[in-house]
Symmetry: C3
């Protein structure tokens, strides 16, 4: 591993012209590279504090609110862990036991749950064109109420997965890549294959692959996106990845051949997702409540998926990677053939060989979320981090 | 705004012969005026501490338990925020995942969840004759267990809405009125219209209007209750309002004419509720599990409501208020015509014009709940408040 | 009562060669007598700290995770209270809103929720052969991840009821017995009747009676297990109880006669459970999703139960106990005849006569859970307990 020491991280942060104060965390590509680096380095620092049994508490009291419009284990517990470690208490907004309506009321709810709230995390990834919109609407409402003096403080919003991006995931992925390749400068020229993979389930969001290509293309990586015909991602994000790759001295290409993507890859990220066009149709049917057509769509979609069962990350496939030793990545949980499903994204032997790396990849998320909240809410985050590093308050009193 | 300073509030509290120690908060009219004023002033003080970034934590650890037998967003988050700010951790009792029976077992549950609990909040507003009874039963059980030494401490019970009163709401309403009119003495002679309003939904509890007329009549206001024939409130509460108004030098009258109530009103509170007699029948049907008759009742009730669609708070109606500038109030969420429903309690333009006031009205609730718990649980609340005001412990460490 | 003082408890603990460091709490019979005594004495000490308004907080921040695969009120709130008192924040893993699969993924979930977690509580008591297995699998996964450096710390697992044991319950029962009879040495030779009792419900777990006979037989008690033919417990546990009784100088016998068990009993613990063989068949049917046969089994089982309605703990039965004054025990909630059901485990008059004792019995659980976590997670628990006892930090700041 390449986890740098706390003094080194503090020094790096001091040299970095970042400014996350009162900023939200929606799409990584809306944030400057300096801010992303500040989040990464702060996350590493907090992880190191925790590893050595020290407290990162910065709040005396205060709420953090999470809104999960889709199931979640990993991200839910990452957010819960992060806010707890900072001294906040999680209160989930369960829309089943509240009466959440549309239009103005959506904005009203945003204010009503924010009177003593320092951070809000939202997962809303099911409807294309919905999750990101909802989050921006939420931010606008609390900003306005803060400016009007209705709110005493203005919570930071953390996107815990929208229809467009899954930025706490892609930042964890980036942290893993940096650690694995021994430094951010070493990402330049490294080849990563972000590929579709077969899954017996349907309707998986596009935000994970979009998040990855939207982030790593900024750091000079050679990115190959591979998927069967018809499994395109949001065109805007693919275009953005292209532009970013050019600007960073890397590259971005798309292929319909999984083997081609894997060839000489330093890292591979094979994961299932639903085709963009299917998600568009699904969103329309869900909105109109057309249950019969939804079932037809699911059937059609699963049948279509089944044509590509060979898009599996097997030992054979891994042999194509650089010296047969490319890093296998996944956001988890993976559809493991013979374990969690009959035929899936990855063979059990590949998954097992990289299990430790996969868990390590996941281990960054709580600390990166904590970093985002800290950097957005603290007036002088650098001096806060120095204080935390110096007082050495133990987690166990 | 008229939010007085912390030194002034402390001075006022010092002069006030209040005693909320180990008292519960069920119906405002069971508490002395001094206790209500102490809650208001303590709430303002805690709000000011929070506004200036200071901690109001008074507990090291401890649970607060909430029991919501009906949906809630605002009150749920107000309670969650309040107990968190005081240093307690919220644990909701979800009756779906517990096995809560009737009779003795109801009292048993009360004790079983209270071993390390400092505050309990209960919303139980669906059945007439049930919510208040349940809360009193709960209190009796924990009092007894405390006296027997089974419980080491005795949690305070906060009524988060019963069939009779919604006292944390009415206290927020009162706080807003005091602030709006520049002091509690200025409420004398001010006219408030508490009126029914049309809603496309059915079965809304009576406790909000009952709570308002049961509270503001104690402060010399001229209260007009308006509703269509058949939409009476609980007779006991209406009678109480009448008596209290007489004692305080105000007035209380009932009319079936919304315009009459609005005429020259300094404040209006138009809100839908189900008729008392309908709630009685509904309670009987719910208890006997008579689903078919329940549907008939709903149909009949909605049809009846629909006769009074003109009971809407429009711009025209607002022009009737004092100089056309009366304050529009609501406990939220409102049924806004054209926004959250086709035709509802209030027009979008009226709601928008008063949105900031409405959110400000809602902003008192967390601090008033915190005030109730603090006053009931602290041995010497005045010295606690002084300590909080002096040590200036920051919310952000 | 016989609650010894804090200095005495500290002295006792000092003399006790216990070692619970990084140990889990699955089955009492896997732990040494010294460790059980250390848990009991630490629990009493924490209870006394709480009674006198002092804090037992040992964690600055940190999560505790609970997984309830069956309904719970008492144990849920005991766990919530315990972890809160220690300074941890409870985060429930709700499997309905997560995507929990089988096989490897079960172990993955264990790691994913443990990155910043200090304690995990699991109730999984529905399937025979499942709950204990799941807990051991969970432990193995987090141990491995801790050794690999993926986890910075390794949470302690607390069994909150499995198919085999309900150890936080049986330890509370033991604490009550010790208190009631004035010391652990006084348990020697005392007769306890652990008996089946009639209930109109079906499928109650076997873990409570198993937990009791698996624990009290280690302390020299004369244990009689009584149940109708066909209501056997797990043979392994019954055999274990027999062996332990012999080793401790007590006795263990089984009878099909409730009166015989009650005769001269110093304490009785009448409680319903499903026959072992029924649970085996039920587990198979549940696994195969055979709904029709499940209904038949329930019918058959309830009909069988109904043959033994006379297995009720009545005043008549209590007269059989030693001098008619035996202690009536129950884990609660009890099926009280005429209160929570028509005919049940215990008559209302017996229950009422022992209500205070029953609540007292329940009151130990939060403190014993806190003791387990503290002893497992603190490096030097004795010095932690001394510090807590000396600094006298108040619960109310």
């Amino acid at each position: 591993m390449n986890e740098t020491t706390i003094p080194k991280l503090l020094k790096d942060l001091e040299a970095l012209p970042f400014d996350m104060r009162e900023k939200d965390f929606l799409l990584t590509w809306e944030l400057s590279k300096e801010n992303l680096l500040a989040i990464l380095k702060t996350g590493l620092l907090l992880k190191e504090l925790h590893r050595t049994g020290r407290s990162m508490r910065v709040f005396d009291t205060g709420l953090a609110v999470s809104i999960f419009r889709d199931n979640s284990t990993r991200t839910r517990f990452s957010f819960a862990s992060a806010v707890n470690a900072l001294g906040l208490t999680l209160q989930e907004l369960d829309e089943r036991t509240s009466q959440i309506a549309h239009g103005e009321t959506e904005r009203e709810t945003a204010v009503m749950i924010s009177f003593l709230t320092q951070a809000v995390g939202i997962r809303d990834d099911i409807f294309l064109g919905e999750g990101d919109r909802y989050q921006r609407n939420f931010i606008q409402a609390i900003k306005e109420a803060y400016q009007e003096g209705i709110l005493h403080q203005r919570p930071v919003l953390v996107n815990l997965q929208s229809d467009i991006d899954h930025p706490t995931q892609s930042m964890s992925d980036l942290a893993k890549l940096i650690d694995y390749f021994g430094g951010i400068e070493n990402l330049k020229g490294k080849k990563i294959a972000v590929t579709w993979a077969y899954s017996p389930s349907y309707g998986k969001p596009l935000s994970v692959p979009q998040g990855v290509i939207g982030l790593v293309t900024r750091f000079g990586m050679e990115v190959t996106l591979a998927h069967p015909q018809g499994y395109e991602l949001l065109p805007d994000v693919a275009n953005l990845a292209k532009k970013q790759a050019e600007a960073s001295g890397g590259s971005f290409s798309v292929t319909e051949n999984m083997e081609e993507a894997f060839k000489n890859a330093d890292a591979v990220y094979p994961k299932s997702w639903a085709p963009y066009q299917v998600m568009v149709r699904r969103t329309e049917l869900l909105k109109s409540g057309n249950t019969a057509s939804l079932k037809d769509l699911e059937k059609e979609c699963l049948a279509n998926n089944a044509k590509y069962k060979n898009w599996e990350c097997t030992e054979e496939m891994m042999k194509l990677t650089r010296a047969g030793k490319g890093l296998y990545m996944h956001c988890l949980p993976a559809d493991i053939s013979g374990v969690s499903c009959k035929e899936g994204e990855v063979s059990a032997s590949v998954f097992d060989a990289y299990r430790k790396d996969l868990y390590h990849q996941a281990s960054y998320k709580p600390f990166l979320i904590a970093a985002i909240i800290l950097l957005s809410r603290m007036k002088d985050p650098l001096s806060t981090l120095k204080k935390l590093s110096q007082h050495e308050k133990s987690l166990i009193l």
